[in-house]
Amino acid sequence: MKEKIIVENLGLKYSDGTESLFGINLRIQANKITALIGPAGGGKSTFLRTLNRLNDLADVAEVSGKVLIDGVDVLDPETDVIALRRKVGIVFSRPLPLPLSIYKNISYGLEVAGEKKREVLDEAVERALHLAQLWEEVNDRLDDPAAALSGGQQQRLCLARTLALKPEIILLDEPTSALDPISTLKIEDSLDELKKEYTIIIAPHNTQQAARVADMVAFFLQGEVIEYDTAAKIYTKPQDSRTQDYITGKFG
């Protein structure tokens, strides 16, 4: 089985001292959905944002360890972060469309990469919208502002926007926490389809969602990975009592 991402001894500190990571070791497999579960503030978001160096925008005081994607350490200062972010897409917990039209939201990533050909952009937009199961709903109003869409549609737009770049890895940071149950199901359906082509890491917004979608599960607690195993094992025979307590709802 191919290991897409290998995280070795990753540690991270913000300059204000909050939400750090301590000695994270994870081997994330290609074409699987890996779920990061655990109570809020445990470092899941920070971990995700380290994978595509989005944390560069935050006040990070110190990063240690290695994050190897396809064998290359992305924490290396020489890394081409622009290329990295195109390869590792992310969807955030709130639907965050850019203040542009539906079409422009999706073509944005391609345009900043220098793509100018209209037909290439058209085709990419259509493909991405199909993948995110949004095409049927918006194909007649692509030039409307994205803000006019419903919350669920906006979030699928954000997924489409990420897919348009043809990334290899998709990070989803509680992607359905602001959505109604029907939109949530649509997104989860898409994920199941998408994992054939992509490596997916999701911080689900509850343990049930992890149980529904995940192949592998990592339990994050206070900046550490307590346990990492197949979803079946974590949910039926957790090794650590804290994992057990979290899954059975004793805390979190």
Binding site: L100, V112, L165
Partner: protein, 290 residues
Amino acid sequence: MQKNKRPFFFNPKLTEKIGVSALTLVAFLTVAPIVAVVIYIVILGAPAISWEFITAMPRDGMRAGGIWPAIIGTFYLTIGTAIFSVPLGVAAAIYLSEYAGDNRLTRYIRLAIINLAGIPSVVYGLFGLGLFVIFLNFGTSILSASLTLSIMTLPVIISTTEEALRAVPQSFRVVSTSLGATKWQTIRRVVLPQALPGILTGVVLGLERAAGETAPILFTGAAFFLPRLPNSPLDATMALPYHLYVISTQVPGMPIQIQYGTVLVLMVFVLVMNLIVTLIRSRARARRQW
């Protein structure tokens, strides 16, 4: 009722009523002079306004004719100021909002901006005289005056632009970056367009102030009396505010009509600039997507 037995000054409801009325009165009295000024100037200035007054050269030692060169002069000075101060000010604001770290250098820059904002306009005039007129040998000219006004306007443009940039939600920057945009691409494609109304507001207010200034151009570019239009940026020029100063204090036997007419023209200019600001703001509010 227990409450009503207290002496009136312990009655919080009554105190509130009196207090609120008093504050309302103070607030409206504070702005009343402004309304009075506008009405007064319009009434007394309107009879002086004619096509000739606007478009003719002054004659008879400015006691007759029009104020065309002063209007054009102020227009040139405003444009000149905009050419220098807008790009520099907007870029400086982008630096402060998007690039500057929380360090000593940034604190010095902020201190410098606060300082620039506080320097008296006449001191700018002296500086412009020393640097642009004499040292750089631009002479008493539109160029010298515009450069002087630009530096004076810079803090207004920087601070309003920075505020507008900071008001753009951080999440847009994060999203744009996550899609592989460089820092500058993020600024140009997302942040600047969203901040544009705020920036325009600042620019207009800054230029309005620059155009109304007299002290900085006294020794750098203003001409007392020049009944022709300037030919080049190295020409001195008449300007509306300075012209008003001249005709209201320096020229004996000045017909009052011409003075009121000049004030009215200046005030219409200010009103129009303010109207533009109001329009930009209300349009932006209606269009904002966040």
